[in-house]
């Protein structure tokens, strides 16, 4: 069996989701190659080559791949698909955008966001916002799978795979990149952070969100997340949204401030190791999943929390 893992990266650095997807690939037992599709990705390829247990790293480059245009990404994968029994793609916004295209072109059923490999053809995936787990068996000869990275440990380093250039595929003649607004932040990335501090509707304004949530996140070295309500209201950017239809996170510590704990939000964070909830309503559903609950108005609780953290040297 041969498995192709498509790397998650931003043209500059390789993301940890790739290492985790390699671990899922190892559960399929076979030769593992990594495809790095992008533009100017020599550095990314070199990092990918160090992942343990990887046979080779394939590099496809074009301007469209650099902009993560789905049509181009799918084409790059399809150009290689003949040589593989399974294609594993991290279930990020980018991955979910092109993986189904690969499946459709191969006339196979895509298998979305697996959290467990049961055998070479059987997988477990969450459905209904994680309120049920589905064990599905695929009869397709070739499998196209997206992998929920938080469910797998990162593969280690120490490998030295060969790096090979491959073709970029046909591209995306009818899709034209216009512009992007990518927010650069010095904070850890939401999906990979060890600690996440999220704010909800209770913040009431973007200024308040920044005044309350961001200093706490900085103090803890944490990434910042938000509920849908906070994003919809413009308190936080869209890519902060944690949940069923936003990002899925599973940090060591998740701190929810002024978030009620709707099932759609829980879907994105309930696999965190330790959950802290700060909410003024004692019966807020978030407390049903919180390891530590503080029933308090955040306006007094957060300043006290900042002081208490300072007191322990944070």
């Amino acid at each position: 069996m041969a498995v192709l893992v498509v790397a998650d990266h931003d043209n500059t650095s390789l993301k940890d989701n790739t290492h985790k997807t390699v671990t899922a690939a190892k559960a399929l037992s076979g030769d593992i190659d990594i495809l790095v599709a992008g533009q100017g990705v020599d550095g990314v390829a070199a990092e990918a080559a160090k992942i343990e247990g990887v046979r080779k790293v394939l590099v496809a480059e074009s301007p469209e791949l650099g902009k993560q245009i789905a049509e181009a990404q799918a084409d790059a994968v399809l150009a290689l698909a003949g040589g593989y029994d399974a294609i594993l793609i991290p279930a990020t916004g980018v991955g979910k955008n092109f993986a189904p295209r690969v499946a459709a072109k191969l006339d196979v059923a895509p298998i979305s966001e697996i959290i467990e490999v049961v055998s070479n053809d059987t997988f477990v995936r969450p459905i209904y916002a994680g309120n049920a787990l589905e064990t599905i068996q695929s009869s397709d000869a070739k499998k196209v799978i997206t992998v929920r990275a938080t469910a797998f440990k990162a593969a280690g380093e120490g490998g030295s795979a060969a790096i090979e250039k491959v073709g970029a595929g046909a591209g995306a003649p009818k899709t034209h990149f216009v512009s992007e607004e990518i927010v650069k932040s010095d904070r850890p990335e939401l999906a990979a952070a060890k600690i996440v501090v999220s704010g909800g509707r209770a913040m009431g304004s973007a200024e308040e969100f920044q005044r309350v949530i961001e200093p706490l996140a900085d103090k803890l070295g944490a990434a910042v997340g938000a509920s849908r309500a906070a994003v919809d209201a413009g308190y936080a950017p869209n890519d902060y949204q944690v949940g069923q239809t936003g990002k899925v996170v599973a940090p060591q510590l998740y701190v929810a401030v002024g978030i009620s704990g709707a099932i759609q939000h829980l879907a994105g964070m309930k696999d965190s190791k330790v959950i802290v909830a700060i909410n003024k309503e004692a019966d807020a559903p978030i407390f049903q999943v919180a390891d530590y609950g503080l029933v308090a108005d955040y306006k007094t609780a957060i300043p006290e929390l900042m002081d208490a953290l300072t007191a322990v040297g944070k």
Binding site: E71, S112, T122, A132, G293
Partner: protein
């Protein structure tokens, strides 16, 4: 310009989902069903494009049981012009949905297929991308803004790090994200009017698409439950517990 909007009937997003004891699926008996929220956003956007004079006709299509007709009626009450129901009682896989939609596109010849990014039952987030691939039409998923200019669509998308704007040559497939719009509630007169709008009844076989192919659900189980922990009195106690008990800071 015609816009085709595929809509799915799903469990209402407010319902607490229960797994059946025999592990064959989730309990849908006597459970409130609604239009998938992302499909609602897609219908709203299509209707707004019609109200702006960009679109001339909005056709909705649903693949599902007889009751999916109610979902189509909801879309008609929001302002869509007519519906197509491809009736089936089996669970249709995303690949098959995409193939059926491709066949509907061949019949209807829309310039835009505007659909939800994800159905909140299967959480696949796949059909739009698959349809675009099968049609060889350009795609823009996770749209938070759509502008139509002649034969092009400019779409702003919610991506991992922020926003991306693409321009697509029409015809194209666009999938809606949460921030695209806030769907309207249908007014009573419009609900009445919707009853008279036509819905075509079809079967999968009419389009030559075989169902029940590639995936077999072996079982559906409950996820491990998280239990509530303890309440702390104040921030100092919280920090002490996080440091010594949990060891996470």
């Amino acid at each position: 310009m015609k816009i085709l909007v595929p809509v799915k009937r799903v469990i209402d997003y407010n319902v607490k989902v229960r797994v059946k004891p025999d592990q064959t699926g989730v309990d849908l008996a006597n459970v409130k069903m609604s239009m998938n929220p992302f499909c609602e956003i897609a219908v709203e956007e299509a209707v707004r494009l019609k109200e702006k004079g960009v679109a001339t006709e909005v056709v909705v299509v649903s693949i599902g049981p007889a009751q999916a007709q109610e979902t189509i009626r909801t879309a008609l009450a929001m302002g869509a012009d007519r519906g197509v129901l491809i009736q089936t009682d089996v669970d249709v896989e995303p690949l098959e949905v995409a193939k059926l939609l491709k066949a509907v596109v061949a019949e209807e010849a829309p310039q835009i297929v505007l659909m939800g990014k994800q159905a909140i039952d299967g959480d696949n987030n796949a059909v739009g991308q698959m349809l675009s691939a099968l049609l060889d039409w350009p795609q823009a998923t996770y749209a938070s803004k759509i502008e139509i200019d002649g034969a092009k669509a400019k779409v702003t998308r919610e991506v991992d790090g922020g926003l991306q704007t693409l321009e697509l040559d029409l015809p194209a497939v666009i999938t809606a994200d949460l921030r695209l719009n806030e769907p309207r509630y249908a007014s009573l007169p419009n609900i009445m009017k919707a009853k008279k709008k036509p819905i075509d009844a079809k079967a999968a076989a009419d389009y030559g698409v075989a169902l029940g192919g590639h995936l077999k659900v072996l079982k559906v189980t409950e996820p491990p439950k998280r239990t509530a922990g303890v309440k702390v009195e104040n921030a100092a106690e919280l920090v002490a517990k996080l440091k010594t008990e949990a060891g996470v800071i």
